[in-house]
Each structure stands twice: as C-alpha cells, then as structure tokens.
C-alpha cells in the first residue's frame, strides 16, 4: 500500500507537470513580443480532474487489475470458422473484398475517395518497408528517399521527355531499386543502430539534393503540372489537349471532376493488389525465408551457405522498388511535388505503420496504414493534438501489444 501511494503521488506529479506545460499555458503574440498566457479556470478544472484520476488509478492499480481480470473475455478464436470451411470461404471473401473496393467509390463523396487513395499509397509504402524492416530486420530510417526517387522520376521524365505515367511506373521502380542497391552496398556490414543512422543520413541526402539542384528539380519550388495518368490514352480533363480525346467525350457522358479521383483510386487499388500479391509470393519463396533467417541469425545463415550480400541487397532493392512504385503514383496523383513531401517524419510514419501493424505481417501493415491515415482525418478537431495522440498510441501499443496489431502468423506447411 505504501509503495503504491508513493507511486501514485509520483505519477500524479508527472501528469501535473506535463499537463501544465502542454495545456495550462499558451504563447500569444502581443505586438512584437511573445507573452505567456495562463489557461482559463475551466481548463484548470479539467487538468486537476485528470491528475486526480491518474492518482486514484495508480493508487488502486492492483485492485483494478484484479477487477478487470474478473470480466469475462469473449473467445474471439471461436468466431473463426473451421480450417476446412475457411479454405472454401476464403477465395469468396477475397473476391467480395475486391469487388467492394471497386464499387465503393461510386457511392461516397469525393473527399472519402481521395483519402482512400492516400491510404492506399501508405499501404504500398508500409508493405515495401515491411520487407526491409519486418522480414529482413534491417532498420531503415531513410525509406522516404526511395519514395522521393520514384516521385521525381515520373515528374522529371514527364516534364522533360513527355513520358506517360504507365511507362514511368516500371522505370521509377527500377530506378528506386538502383538507389536501394547503392544504399545497400555500404551498409552491408552494419546492423541495428548503426544501420539506422546511415539510412537516416541517406534519406536526408536525397532530400537536400532535390532541394538544392534547382536547375533540374526546381529546388524548394518543386515541380508542378505533372500529367495525370490516362486510360489507354484517354485523358481525364475537361478539354482534351491536342491530338487526344478525353474520357467523357469518348464515352459520351458528362464531365465531372469526380471521374478523375475515382480513376486514380482504381489505379491505386490495382497497384496495391499487385504489390500484395508479389510480396506474398516473395515471402513464401526461398528468398523470403532467407530474409527472415538473416534477421534471426546472420552467423547461422553464413554457415549454411547463404550469401548474405545477395540476401541483404535483394531486400533493400525490392523494398525500394515498392517505394518507387508508390512515389510514381504519388506524383501523378498530386500533380505537384516538392522536397517538402519527403521529410524525415514521413519515414517515421511509414516505420510506425510497420511496427504498429506487426513486423512481417501483411494484414497488420494494411490495418495500421488505414489507422494511421484515417484516424487523423476523423479526428480533425483535435488536429492540434495529433502528435500527442500519435505518441500516446505508440506508448499504449508498446505496452499492451508489443508484437503489433496483427502479429505475423507462420505459414503452416503441409508435410505430405
């Protein structure tokens, strides 16, 4: 009891200090100087109530724990159908999901479709980084660099040489893969923290290069007016540029700006399905197992005749090419890119998606990407506290579900 009293006082004290700093005082401009304002009385009441709550919950934490353990938990495992039935329903469920994804945008608002497209981009990025961090265990903090390479590949090729989106898609993936290869070489021997620092530096290098190479990339002004993707040469604009036809003219329907948004969304769905399929195959192939083996024990890998150079480089290049894919699509969707879009915080968010979802788990990464992009939009009113909620989510996850939302499930191999 004595111990928990001290603990409770300590926790309440910390809550008070943090709450005072973050909620109790506010900076405001008064002429040319800054002044500190105190919060109003109602807000102080809230703070004190919060402190009291923390104090009481800490004081009676053992009792509360005992109480919560008495609450019966539903057996979620029982809800899952039997293995045999599951095998029958699974393809149908997947088909229904895909059809749902394709039909859904025609029934909702333009904003929702746009948000879904953004989510799909993050899903692609998360899946790509999942190869590097989740499977191969190589902590990469500069992943956004490959995203930038993909985006700028399309932007520059389309601006200077008039390449189309579809032609640039493989080129962007290849070029990003090449950059992954270049980064992979010097870091072959590094692990853990050292690797994180080098990749962080690499990410910054690419961003600073884009920022300063003004003659080609436009520097901080970025590149605007990037062409949108076309459907077999049909444009999605109000008026066709010379020698082409627009989508609505070709099909003889009325023009609406929503068509373009839905088209972009459908491309994103297509890309995500392709990426999920490819990575899913990779994970079940020898190379996928080798990535995981390398994460588990590098020395054992070497003793069994696995060439770690090839394995690490393949993880870096394949992860990077996925980001290149996503980057190319991002540039096409935005129509405008600048180095601002590729700052470190983007890398951190993608990494958070992987960790939150569960390292190596594809479903987990997809769910986490949805959570990380949709939640901030839903909680728009709290946008001031976005980073605070982000941090809180991380702490809560690491405390109660350190293995992620949906931990990776090992494939069950049939023996005969």
């Amino acid at each position: 009891m004595r111990g928990s009293l001290y603990n409770a006082i300590f926790a309440a004290g910390i809550t008070l200090v943090l709450a005072c700093l973050m909620l109790g005082v506010r900076l405001g401009a008064e002429g040319t100087t800054l002044t500190v304002y105190g919060a109003g009385a109602d807000r102080w009441e809230w703070i004190l109530a919060g402190v009291g709550l923390v104090f009481l919950s800490q004081l009676f934490s053992t009792q509360l724990g005992r109480l919560s353990s008495r609450i019966p938990r539903p057996d979620l495992g029982a809800l899952k159908p039997q293995d045999a039935t599951w095998k029958v329903i699974k393809p149908w469920l997947l088909a229904a999901l895909v059809v749902g994804l394709l039909v859904w945008p025609f029934m909702v608002s333009r904003g929702a479709v746009d948000l879904a497209t953004l989510t799909l981009i993050y899903i692609m990025l998360g899946l790509g980084l999942n190869i590097v961090v989740g499977l191969a265990g190589l902590l990469d903090l500069g992943y956004v660099a490959f995203y930038a390479v993909g985006a700028y590949t399309y932007a520059l090729l389309s601006e200077y040489f008039g390449f189309s989106f579809w032609a640039c898609l493989p080129i962007a993936a290849l070029l990003a893969a090449a950059f992954g290869f270049i980064l992979g070489f010097p870091v072959l021997r590094l692990r853990g923290d050292y690797l994180a620092i080098v990749t962080l530096g690499f990410g910054e290098m690419i961003r600073i290069l884009l920022n300063n190479w003004t003659s080609i990339t436009g520097g901080p002004n970025g590149i605007s007016g990037i062409e949108k993707p076309t459907l077999f040469g049909l444009e999605f604009s109000r008026r066709a540029s010379e020698g082409t036809q627009t989508f609505h003219e070709f099909f003889g329907i009325d023009y609406s700006s929503g068509q373009k948004v839905i088209f972009l969304y459908l491309i994103a769905v297509l890309l995500v399905i392709v990426v999920i399929y490819l990575i899913n195959r990779l994970m079940r192939m020898p190379i996928g197992r080798a990535w995981e083996a390398l994460r588990e024990d590098e020395i054992a890998c070497r003793s069994l005749g696995l060439n770690r150079t090839v394995i690490k480089l393949s993880a870096f290049t394949l992860g990077a090419s996925t980001a290149g894919f996503a980057g190319c699509f991002f540039a096409a969707r935005q129509g405008f890119i600048s180095p601002e879009s590729f700052i470190f915080i983007e890398s951190a968010i993608i990494l958070a998606i992987v960790v939150l979802g569960g390292m190596g788990s594809q479903i987990g990464v997809i769910l986490a990407a949805i959570v990380m992009t949709v939640l901030p939009e839903l909680a728009r009113e709290f946008s001031d506290y976005r980073m605070l909620m982000f941090g809180l989510l991380m702490v809560v996850m690491m405390r109660w579900r350190p293995e992620g939302l949906v931990p990776m499930k090992r494939p069950h191999l049939e023996l005969k």
Binding site: A293, D297, I299, L304, G305, L415
Partner: protein, 255 residues
C-alpha cells in the same frame, strides 16, 4: 579410401600478439569420426572458425577434397560440403522447424525470382525435393511431429538435434560439431552418440567433433587430436591418447 577428405597443414591463427592456434595439423579420412579435445581456451573453436571460413587463418593450408579452402568466404566453404554447428545453438528461433530445414537448403532451390513468381515446374520440383529431404531428416532425428512449431519453443535437446538435422539437409561431406553434447542429459547424450555413429555408418559422411564429454569422445572417435594452448599436444587412437602422460598433465595439471 586412401585420399584424405580434409588435410590441414600448419594452421596458424594470430590475433595481434596472441597466438591462438599454432601450427595445428589435422587429417580426416572418408567415413571417419575425428575428435579435437583440449582444456578450455585451448583454441579448438578457433580451429573450427578457421576451417569454416569465419576467420581467415594467418598461415597454413586447408585442403578439402584436394581443394584449398583457406581464403574462401564462409558461405563458399559450406557450399563445398563442409558444414558446422555452433557451441551455442543457433537456430532461426521464430521460424518453424520445417522452415529452418528449408532455409538450409537455399542453394539447392531455384532462387530465381521469376521462377518463384510463376511457380515454374523446375521451381516446384526443387521445392518438393527440399521438402522431402527436410522431412527425411526430421524423421531421422525424431522431430517430425514438431515440424510446424517455432524452433525456439523446442526443448533444448531437440534444438540441438534440429541443428544437426539442418546441417545434414545441406548434404555435406564433412560435418563439424562444436560441443554437441553440451547441456544434454545422459539419455540425450546417448541418443546423440548413436546419431553421430549412424551418420558415419549409414550416411557415409565424416565428422569432426569438439567435445568435453570424454565418455562420448572415447566411445565413438576413430582418431583424437589433443590441443593445449593453441599447440598440438598429441594425437592417436582413443586408447593411446588416454594413456599419454602429456595429455594427463594438460588436463589435470602437474603434480
């Protein structure tokens, strides 16, 4: 067979001023169990590290099947058919037992990305062969019923056996075992004893063994080398080594 499988000449390993291994000679014939014994810190594991390519020896030659191994990379050496285990079990502990076995056969599989994406006939055939080999070896060490469990959740003795099975699935000619009986109970040690002998007699491979369990060593070895402080002290048949006064002195100290 007259030709030596492994012929090590004047192997020397120096770490700065420390002479860890000093002019060690070893030879292993086909279908032979050869042991290296010696007090703690004698340099036995360093010899293994040199043989398996984890260290590049300072001097000396390592001939394996008439090919020079000194200077090759670790993974190249193991591809030639010389595979080792470790003093501390090194499994891919989060992966399942069967996955451990498949990873070991990586180089026998079709690792071409496109072949795997398209599941070409050659990819399927090699994958199936690897699976069969994995099942065969798991059966051999009596672990088949645990095939889909995470390797890290096995009991310690089972992990040891899995490590040997994993090495065997790479189809080696020479197996290097670094203290395989460490931490095993008497029953498990006896099983291991039988397994090693079976590997030699039925699967016709050679084994080079580091071990402290003298019962095991004396019982199964065809030849024994004794190393003390990095220097070869004696070698011979188990009985000869047992009676050698230098060996007794090195183990028990001078009286």
């Amino acid at each position: 067979m007259s030709q030596l499988l492994l012929d090590v000449n004047e192997l020397t390993m120096r770490f700065g001023g420390l002479l860890a291994v000093n002019k060690v000679n070893l030879s292993v014939k086909h279908r032979q169990i050869v042991s290296i014994i010696g007090p703690n810190g004698a340099g036995k594991t360093t010899v293994f590290n040199c043989l398996s390519g984890f260290y590049i020896p300072t001097d000396g030659s390592i001939m394996f099947n008439g090919q020079q191994l000194a200077g090759l990379k670790d993974f190249q050496i193991s591809r030639k058919g010389l595979v080792r285990t470790f003093q501390h079990v090194r499994l891919f502990s989060k992966m399942t037992v069967i996955e451990n076995m498949l990873v070991a056969q990586h180089r026998h599989l079709n690792t071409n990305l496109f072949a795997g994406m398209l599941k070409t006939p050659s990819y399927r055939r090699l994958e199936k062969e690897a699976m069969d080999r994995a099942i065969y070896w798991l059966e051999e060490v009596n672990l088949l019923q645990h095939a889909n469990r995470a390797a890290g959740n096995l009991a310690y003795g089972q992990q040891r056996k899995l490590e040997i099975a994993r090495c065997m699935s790479t189809q080696p000619q020479l197996l290097l075992l670094d203290e395989p009986a460490a931490g095993l109970n008497p029953n498990e040690t006896k099983e291991l004893d039988q397994l090693i002998v079976r590997l030699r007699d039925e699967h016709e491979i050679s084994i080079l063994l580091i071990e402290h369990d003298m019962g095991l060593v004396m019982g199964i070895s065809d030849h024994i080398y004794v190393i003390a402080q990095g220097t070869p002290l004696a070698d011979g048949k188990p009985d000869e080594v047992k009676q050698n006064p230098d060996v007794i002195k090195a183990y028990l100290g001078e009286s």
